[in-house]
């Protein structure tokens, strides 16, 4: 049993050939917590997300989701258990409209499965949910635009929309603001905050402003291990973290702030 955690990793390991990317990661995220996972390039942040969401199977160790063991399950099985993820590189349905993209994200969770004896037009609950979602991510004016014709920022918003469409309780966002400008980023963080209220949130993020703005807790991943997991001030003060990674970044940031 994993006592009441939304997500728990126990001694998780993953090797690609001889290279071990994740080397015994442990993490326990309580329901409703917002966790930012940070770490230097190549620390294994994206790999960790791919393991949790079922894209890869772990070499050893356990992954628990809401007191259910999910390591070794396929992505769609994990999704059905209430975990959704977004992707660093925009991953949407290019030749479908914005509305259709969102409706696709909604269908399974409302139990429509593979049905071909019902018309989509008649699925009032699915249509209403997709419409509401479209307003929440502020793409209602682009309703019938094909996803491939959206701007980059709009595609990122749609990416988040598809992710949360199924009503998952645990949401993994892989660098949601990657490639966005400063002003877009701050607006986007506000949007993420709005649409993930009451959910357990894990994000991978490079932008420290985003990290400290969005997260209740920070997990520091270095060489495939979680070396610290605590509130932002505590992580900032952690000697190991400063030594391993954060020190240099914070020093840069403080220097930058002092310069203002």
């Amino acid at each position: 049993m994993s006592a009441g955690y939304a997500v728990q990793l126990k001694g998780l390991r993953k090797s690609f050939g001889k290279t071990e990317i994740i080397r015994g990661a442990d993490l326990a995220v309580a329901p409703g917590e917002r966790v930012a996972i940070i770490g230097p390039n190549g620390a294994g942040k994206s790999t960790l997300f791919n393991l949790i969401s079922g894209r890869f199977g772990p070499t050893s160790g356990e992954i628990w989701l809401n007191d259910q063991r999910i390591d070794g399950l396929r992505p769609f099985e994990i999704a059905r258990l209430g975990l959704a993820r977004s992707f660093q590189i925009t991953n949407i349905f290019g030749r479908l409209s914005v509305f259709e993209n969102l409706r696709c994200g909604v269908l399974w969770s409302l139990g429509y499965k593979y049905s071909f004896w019902k018309f989509l037009a008649g699925l009032t609950d699915a249509n209403e949910r997709a419409e509401a979602l479209m307003h929440r991510i502020k793409l209602d004016r682009k309703r019938d635009t094909l996803a491939m014709n959206l701007t980059y920022a709009e595609q990122r918003a749609l990416e988040i929309g598809i992710t949360i469409a199924g009503g998952a309780s645990v949401v993994l966002l892989d660098e949601p603001t990657a490639g966005m400008s400063k002003s877009e980023t701050s607006r986007f963080i506000e949007l993420i905050r709005e649409v993930t209220v009451g959910k357990t949130l894990l994000t991978v993020e490079h932008d420290m402003g985003v990290v400290f703005g969005l997260a209740d807790k920070i997990a520091v991943l270095v060489y495939g291990e979680v070396i610290a997991f605590d509130t932002p001030p505590a992580v900032r003060a952690d000697a190991r973290v400063q030594e391993a990674y954060l020190g240099s970044v914070l020093a840069d940031q403080q220097a930058a702030q002092a310069g203002h």
């Binding site: 769609f76 030749r95 479908l96 409209s97 269908l107 399974w108 593979y114 049905s115 019902k118 989509l120």
Partner: protein
């Protein structure tokens, strides 16, 4: 009728009903207008081809599955239907002849359940390879199991069996045509309805991005497999209609050539729109029945058309129509008409020269025994005279140069109009 556009709530509006009633009316009236024996035969074949191509497009256009073996399902549907027809004649199968296409459909579905399980495990290139393998396998079986497939001669049956129902014996071709028309309309409606169901939409999602589909709760293999089975059913119905129409099934109906034709004409008609394959199916029958009468080189012309289509209009004829309708909607088609006339004129000159060359080469190869002269569109060409060759070559070359010049100007005009329309759309959005 675009498979991917979202009308507001997608319900069947009055506009859709008009289209369906018009389609039904055309099917009823067509044989009254074109009442020669050849015309009714062609109309029957068009119905069969429409169902086959639409079912193929469930895979290609809607699911992104490039199948090289769709004739396996229509063809096995034909064989089972022929056997069913024989059983009806022998008194062992108590169903009316009019239900034979349904038997074909169930057969196509059954084989899709069986073979599709392996086929749809993978997508992309692997999928294409497996369909090719299965196509070869079944094609070879047709000659290895003569008890079922009838070997080289195939298996024949008689559709006029049992007592006529309401005076309908299915003896006259016109009665078969109307049966085919009913099935064609029902199948088309069924396949169109499929595009508006959860499975149909997820099939589009799997086409666009199979990876993401897995992360929103769907098993992509299941989506492909279930859709494949449904496509197999409709392919089988078309096979059943084929059996009723021709009263024979030969190894050719499951063969790779027929699978290739489905791919060829579905693509030509346009895989990105629901109605594209209907255009393709009509062209398929016209090409087979009329073009093959006109020239021995018809497959070569088809190949050229396909080549040009893949390069210049990968969305097929349907997308050309839709693009021009869009221009018309924004009032830009009028300015392009003069260019279309120029394109057509230069194109005809180019084609005239090239076709003369092709016909002369074919004449040398196949009809040399008939003498050195041939009749080409009312013109007498002599394969032994330099003037004929030179003349044809000059006409082809001049036509090609003029066509290319016009095409470049046209492309620029088209691009301008397109740009204006998009700029206007952006301006509206900002406002």
């Amino acid at each position: 009728m675009a498979s991917t556009t979202a009308s507001r709530f997608g319900a069947l509006g009055p506009k859709d009903l008009v289209v369906w009633f018009a389609a039904a009316a055309v099917m009823v009236v067509a044989p009254l207008v074109f009442h020669s024996g050849l015309a009714v035969t062609m109309l029957s074949q068009i119905g069969i081809a429409i169902v086959a191509c639409l079912s193929y497009n469930m895979l290609l256009g809607q699911g992104g599955m490039l199948s090289f073996g769709h004739a396996v399902y229509s063809g096995l549907g034909s064989y089972i239907s022929i056997h069913a027809l024989k059983a009806i004649g022998g008194g062992t199968l108590p169903i009316p002849v009019s239900l034979v296409p349904v038997v074909g459909g169930l057969a196509g579905m059954g084989f899709a359940v069986l073979l599709g399980f392996v086929t749809t495990k993978k997508s992309g290139t692997t999928f294409a390879m497996i369909t090719l393998g299965i196509s070869e396998l079944v094609g070879a079986m047709a000659f290895m199991v003569p008890e079922f497939f009838g070997g080289e001669a195939g298996i024949a049956a008689n559709r006029v069996v049992g007592k006529p129902v309401l005076g309908i014996s299915f003896g006259p071709q016109i009665q078969v045509y109307y049966l085919i028309a009913v099935y064609t309309l029902l199948c088309t409606a069924g396949m169109y309805a499929f595009t508006r169901t959860p499975l149909g939409r997820m099939l589009n999602a799997v086409r666009d991005n199979p990876e993401r589909v897995e992360f929103i709760g769907y098993n992509t293999q299941r989506v492909r497999y279930f859709s494949f089975i449904i496509a197999g059913f409709f392919a089988g119905v078309s096979g059943g209609m084929y059996a009723l129409n021709f009263e024979i099934a030969t190894g050719e109906v499951v063969g790779a050539f027929r699978s290739g034709l489905y791919l060829f004409f579905t693509f030509l008609g346009g895989a990105t729109f629901f109605f594209g394959p209907i255009i393709g199916a009509i062209l398929m029958v016209v090409a087979f029945v009329l073009m093959s009468e006109m020239t021995k080189a018809w497959l070569l012309y088809l190949g050229l058309v396909f080549l040009l289509m893949v390069i210049y209009a990968p969305g097929g004829i349907a997308s050309l129509i839709m693009m021009n309708l869009r221009m018309a909607k924004h009032g830009r088609l009028g300015g392009l008409l003069v260019w279309y006339v120029a394109l057509a004129l230069t194109g005809v000159v180019m084609f005239f020269g090239a076709a003369a060359l092709i016909e002369m080469i074919y004449h040398l190869q196949f009809d040399a025994g008939l003498g050195p002269t041939l009749n080409f569109l009312g013109l007498t060409l002599d394969v032994q005279s330099v003037a004929s060759w030179l003349g044809a070559a000059v006409v082809a070359a001049v036509g090609a140069v003029l066509f290319e010049l016009v095409r470049r100007r046209f492309a620029a005009r088209w691009g301008d109009a397109q740009g204006d329309i998009e700029a206007a759309a952006r301006a509206r959005e900002m406002a």
